[in-house]
Symmetry: C2
Subunit: 369 residues, 2 copies
DNA sequence: AAAATATATGAAACCGATCTCAGAGAATGC
DNA sequence: GCATTCTCTGAGATCGGTTTCATATATTTT
């Protein structure tokens, strides 16, 4: 009767297989110099006892934890209303599972000293690398992470750190696509409801909107830009404000709403005002659903590849970690290469922009003549 | 010039402070027998060098990792549409941060062997305990976790494991409250759109619905129960099906929709059918927002304390871990207590049900005479 | 056939903490 | 005033792996 609950150690496995613990370790790490016969015997014993090596012991000696940290520095309010994070997590998790990495979630919460929280995590040597969910512009967190020396990939570029590794959705281009399409339908009074403008996503989408208008030589009207906060309410408020301005000026014929909850709020407001979509006002929302799936409200929308973003971030980080590990083990061998044959460890930062997609729905129409 | 990037070890700190590493360890672990003067000196050196002990080394010797695992066994489809998990995570994270636990996220994903995934995590000795997001009924995962011997708290009770620790929202009661309220408004043809019935939440809400009808002696009609899947589409489909049946039978005057996305779908369908809410049909949704906040659609709803659920689960688990740790260290001392003075380690399972709340909105009205 | 190299294994050092044990000095008891 | 207890500290064992080094055997080269 085996004690199934208590974990065996390499020593015990070694004894059971009649080899030394060094050999068991070699088998575990797929070291080449192990005879086939011994390898099989050891693997059998390992399987029989469902042995899994103690991660702490392994981490101690290798100084690698096989874990990556996922930092979510936002004010948490964004977490619930939006499907962004669940989808993003899913993408990251997919890669972690496939590549056998553990995923440690680090989210701020009220009442804890964020600096202390991050210091503990950064310096505990428990994480090999970090994925940073978009920190607000100017957030000192990025500085901390850079200083920690841990490899990391950020979501979104940071103006103050041009050389930082990042992946992002091309938000400017996404907003631009929305405007392009509306212009192609004949719209010229195009309003925009933006995310908070102290976030990169807010800044980028507004920039794309402005750029597109400029390219099409459409006059810009500051009263048609409303800074939202991702909430349904702020979408509602935006439309109401446009309507108020419309007393002196005409109502926009199209609105780009850069957030799914906000788009719902906008729709509700238009409905409340007795305006029909798309007959009176065209509406383009943003969401995180697969571009193949239908929008629940049949809305024309910009579909952001959020799961792909998570996957990409994780894949880039894992690649980076592998390269770092390889470099370290080469360095340890003390190899000096002849000529300049030294394998180039590229220091070029990883910087990838993923394209969003325009998905047509029933909320847009050509402007009335 | 200090090397700020590389971490110091206890040995180095000890040397710098002019003490042994044992003393440094004592300071770190707040062991009582350290003189004030030495403690201060050591703390100063620690602070000066921003020293954080290596977690792997610590874990190795204490066989405690200070990390808990959050298992999310659902088919991932539920993750994006619903605000459930983000809110739940938030609750868990809050407690983890406060209690200095790391949080490791374990989510299944396509293409990985789930059994292998969980075995690796369960036996890697990297987690002190586990919070299990509701596994479907009959999922072998629960069995695996039980066998692993790790302390854990499940979300939701499991019929096959009556002695398992769990916390949950009282889903039956929640559905019952919704029906009670509708009955009090005079409704007798009350339909229900349920979550998938192979989940505990689906089963419980349906049970509550039935129980309430029975208590009020309202005749039940199976055609008024529709099994949804949490999606907006399934809420739409549900109403359409009720409408179809209504050719031979009358339309329900009230619908309880046990999911927020489904409730939106139902609302859209009613709108499409030209039925007004609440004049023609009353609607009660379920959501995860704070009971104090307004529903974005002004809907009468059952507000589930999901963040509180996460907090409660984490707090119970942390409490459990502390008790286990205390028991272990007492056992190691080999203390035998006189009489029956031995501190009782209660083996009663932790089982907590949190109450949902009914939040009144504009989607319910008294039945038309 | 001897030398050189490749393959296969074990003994022992090592990673960086905690914790036991023993001992020294201070405080308390009788 | 001496025994006893309490307070404080350091030496060294220990956790469970990986990795270096030495050694033995098998294979290839010359």
């Amino acid at each position: 009767m085996k004690d199934e609950t208590r974990n065996k150690t390499v020593n015990q496995i070694a004894e059971l297989a009649g080899v030394s613990r060094a050999t068991v370790s070699r088998v575990l790490n797929e070291h080449p110099y192990v005879s086939d016969e011994v390898r099989k015997r050891v693997l059998r014993v390992i399987a029989e006892h469902n042995f899994h090596p103690n991660q702490a012991a392994r981490a101690l000696v290798t100084s690698r934890s096989e874990a990556i940290g996922l930092f979510v520095p936002q004010q948490l309010s964004r977490l619930f209303s939006d499907s962004y994070f669940p989808l993003f997590f899913q993408g990251v998790v997919e890669v972690c599972n496939r590549e056998n990495y553990y995923l440690t979630l680090v989210i701020e919460s009220d009442g804890v000293d964020r600096k202390q929280l991050y210091q503990r995590v950064l310096k505990g040597q428990r994480l090999d690398g970090i994925i940073m969910g978009s920190p607000p512009i100017g957030d000192p967190l990025l500085q901390m992470v850079v200083q920690s020396g841990l490899p990391f990939v950020s979501i979104g570029q940071h103006p103050d750190f041009p050389a930082v590794n990042f992946v992002d959705v091309d938000n400017a281009k996404a907003a631009q696509m929305a405007v392009d399409y509306l212009v192609s339908l004949g719209h010229t009074r195009i309003a925009m409801v933006t995310p908070p403008l102290d976030t990169r996503v807010g800044e980028a989408r507004l920039r794309g909107y402005r750029l597109a208008l400029q390219q099409h030589q459409v006059a810009q009207d500051e009263r048609l830009v409303f800074e939202g906060d991702f909430s349904e309410q702020s979408g509602y408020a935006a439309v109401m404000q446009f309507a108020q301005h419309a007393v002196t000026q005409s109502m926009p014929t199209a609105i780009v709403v850069a957030g799914d909850m906000m788009a719902q709020g906008a729709q509700r407001a238009l409905h409340a005002l007795g305006l029909r979509v798309p007959e009176d006002v065209s509406l383009i929302g943003f969401d995180n659903l697969e571009s193949s799936s239908l929008s629940p409200f049949g809305m024309t929308r910009i579909s952001q590849p959020v799961a792909a973003l998570g996957r990409e971030a994780a894949m880039q980080l894992v690649g980076l970690l592998r390269r770092v590990a390889a470099r370290d083990s080469i360095a340890k061998l003390g190899i000096t290469f002849p000529f300049d044959a030294e394998p180039e460890v590229s220091n070029a930062p990883i910087q990838r922009l993923l394209d969003a997609q325009l998905v047509l729905g029933r909320s847009t129409a050509a402007v009335k003549p």
